[in-house]
């Protein structure tokens, strides 16, 4: 189907150009050929190194491949059965969902607040923008290291401040207690992604036509009323994009958990991605790791479709 549709415009172009001498037009001028030639290298690269591994991952999940014995033997549903019997899997699934939902809410609310701050006019904006972007532009592994120190069990400066104010006596042990560790991981995810969400939403704020804002002001709408009845509805598609991007990144990330807690204490912050890593790379059980990671796929697909829908709505706008 692709070939026939690609070929047709070619003949049209040739006909338009009068045929004859132009029949032997240089390849560099034939749009149909050119389009394929320009696109093909990227497509081949991605097909080989994304498409193929994806299929391989599915195949692995039905096999008994390990790092020590990489020969492929069919293993049926054994991996999945074993995963379902493992309470750590259910814990990881639950944590993945909690982390994603929790940080998504924080990302949307504070991303909007931050976007509003960043579009305002004030002196020293450059330095504020620089500091605000740090969490997003810094390699995750390194900002997680900064947080690991920030949340240190004994020397955490947060604990010191809380002690000075008199709220606590000893230490909080942010990463040592299951619920606090859960909260810490959510906070770090949100902290890292809020600047990205703010930048995406800024694009929406800037894109709102000035006459709409002025008209609303002339009509006597107060700040909050204008925000909730005009700005937010107009920005809805971009807010959705920011939220879903944030969700996908949180959902598939293992770095924050790996550096901060390694899934602990006792798997209370384990997520699917980190569990797949511990099983597949550190434990060497590639087949089971692959099966765990595959559970990310259906949810990802849903998020991708939702993003595309939001983008489509933006085109209408």
């Amino acid at each position: 189907m692709v070939q026939t549709t690609a070929a047709k415009p070619d003949t049209e172009v040739a006909a338009r150009n009068g045929g004859g001498r132009r029949d032997r037009r240089r390849l560099a001028d034939r749009e149909g050929f050119l389009a394929w030639a320009m696109l093909l290298p990227s497509i081949v690269y991605i097909a080989l190194l994304v498409g193929l591994p994806l299929l391989l991952a599915v195949a692995f999940s039905f096999s008994d491949v390990t790092a020590g014995d990489p020969s492929f033997d069919w293993n049926g549903l054994a991996n999945y059965r074993q995963i379902f019997d493992d309470p750590v899997f259910w814990q990881s699934l639950r944590n993945t969902i909690i982390f994603t939902a929790g940080s998504m809410v924080l990302i949307v609310v504070f991303g909007k607040v931050l976007a509003n701050i960043l579009v305002a006019d004030f002196h020293g904006k450059w330095i504020v923008r620089f500091l605000v972007l740090l969490p997003w532009t810094t390699p995750v592994a390194l900002s997680a290291i900064a947080w690991l120190w920030m949340l240190d069990s004994i020397f955490s400066p947060i604990d010191w401040m809380l002690r000075e104010v008199g709220l606590i006596n000893g230490n909080m042990y942010w990463l040592g207690r299951p619920n606090l560790a859960l909260l810490s991981v959510i906070a770090v995810h949100a902290w890292r992604l809020i600047p990205l969400a703010a930048v995406i939403m800024m694009a929406g704020l800037v894109a709102i036509p000035n006459d709409i804002k002025e008209q609303a002001e002339v009509d006597g709408g107060g700040y909050w009323r204008r925000m909730f009845e005009i700005t937010i509805p107009l920005m809805m598609p971009l807010i959705a994009v920011a939220a879903l991007f944030g969700a996908i990144v949180t959902f598939t990330d293992m770095t924050v958990v790996y550096v901060l807690t390694r899934g602990g204490p006792t798997n209370s912050t384990q997520v699917l991605a980190s569990w797949a890593f511990f099983r597949g790379i550190e434990g060497g059980d590639i087949a089971q790791g692959a099966a765990v990671a595959l559970f990310l796929f259906p949810l990802l697909l849903a998020a991708a479709v939702l993003i595309l829908r939001a983008v489509r709505r933006m085109e209408v706008m």
Binding site: A6, P9, R26, A28, D29, E31, A37, M38, P41, Y45, I46, L49, V50, P53, L54, P70, V113, I117, W126, I127, R129, F130, L131, V132, L133, L134, P135, T137, T138, P139, A141, L142, S143, I145, A146, W147, W149, M150, F155, W160, R163, W191, V199, A203, V218, V241, T252, T255, V259, A273, A276, I281, I286, G289, A293, F297, A303, A304, L308, M314
Partner: protein, 300 residues
């Protein structure tokens, strides 16, 4: 309309209205500054703490009740020196740099023509292909790293930094295509048509007329691609184990922690040394990223 309202009002109430407006304006200004400072402190807080930590002496740092934000003992550059002289930090930096530059080169060579094909050579399939590329962009390393680690072994690149040069373009090409399509659509079609009238082929027009014009977009893509490769963690952790082959993102957290011993000051120095320059460069191009992303999204 507002003018009509005030003309009806008495003089006195106009005055109070004006005073109230000025007051409200001033309060709003104060609010903006307070919010901006709070946002900056929350976002940069961990890094400011890192910066202070990097120059602290151990007896000062490891004293729970010392004010952590002050130098209770004189500051020291000992731990920064340790980072450069006693650890493989410079090797990690160098590896990150050359991997990043090679990946940027591969990404541009592949994605620029692809973006042009999607943006300009109107094929019936360009829409679906653009969407497919967007989906690829959303496929995360966590889904692929296990099978890719077998592929890397199969091509003999395990424990070798070159494996990252091979694999990273799969992350960067989709983003770059997405960004570049946006930038290319911002260039008027007349430019190429004029070039073709002047005797260039379609390909020639692309190389000679379009590429120079899209240069700002290309620079944005270079910065973005480089940052993406420098930040990647999972592939680097899964494919490469020897110290000498590691990059920044895996080297710092794994090599500066020996068992239970954390070289905190050196670790935080490394964090700051990497974080600040990247954010600085990124800042210069922020407006271009916003422009590219929205154009790619709205017109794509």
């Amino acid at each position: 309309m507002a003018a009509v309202d005030t003309s009806v009002d008495t003089h006195a109430s106009v005055d109070t209205l004006r005073r109230r407006a000025i007051l409200r304006h001033r309060l709003a200004r104060v609010g903006v500054y307070l919010a901006a400072i709070a946002a900056a402190l929350i976002c940069a807080g961990p890094f400011l703490w890192s910066l202070i930590t990097a120059f602290k002496q151990s007896p000062d740092l490891y004293q729970r009740d010392n004010n952590p934000f002050l130098y209770n003992l004189p500051s020291t550059r000992m731990h920064v020196r340790y980072l450069f002289q006693e650890t493989a930090f410079l090797t990690f930096l160098w590896n990150t740099l050359w991997v990043g530059l090679l990946v940027v080169a591969i990404t541009l060579v592949l994605s620029l023509p692809a973006a042009y094909a999607l943006a300009r050579l109107d094929r019936p399939w360009s829409g679906p292909v653009a969407i497919a590329i967007f989906f690829v962009y959303l496929v995360p390393p966590t889904l692929l790293f296990l099978s890719l680690s077998r592929l890397v072994v199969a091509v003999g690149l395990q424990d070798n930094t070159w494996s990252l040069v091979l694999i990273y373009p799969t992350i960067t090409i989709p983003v770059s295509v997405w960004l570049l399509v946006g930038f290319l659509k911002g260039i008027p079609k007349d430019i190429e048509e004029q070039a073709m009238v002047d005797g260039y082929s379609r390909l020639g027009a692309f190389v000679r007329a379009v590429v120079p014009l899209v240069f700002p977009g290309i620079v944005a893509v270079i910065v973005f691609t480089f940052t993406l490769t420098a930040s990647e963690f999972i592939y680097a952790l899964a494919f490469v184990a020897p110290t000498a082959e590691k990059v920044i993102s895996t080297g710092v957290p794994t090599e500066l922690v020996r068992g239970d011993v954390f070289f905190w000051q050196s670790l935080q120095a490394a964090t700051v040394l990497v974080a600040f320059p990247i954010a600085f460069v990124f800042n210069l191009f922020l407006d271009r990223f916003i422009a590219g992303f929205t154009m790619g999204a709205v017109k794509g």
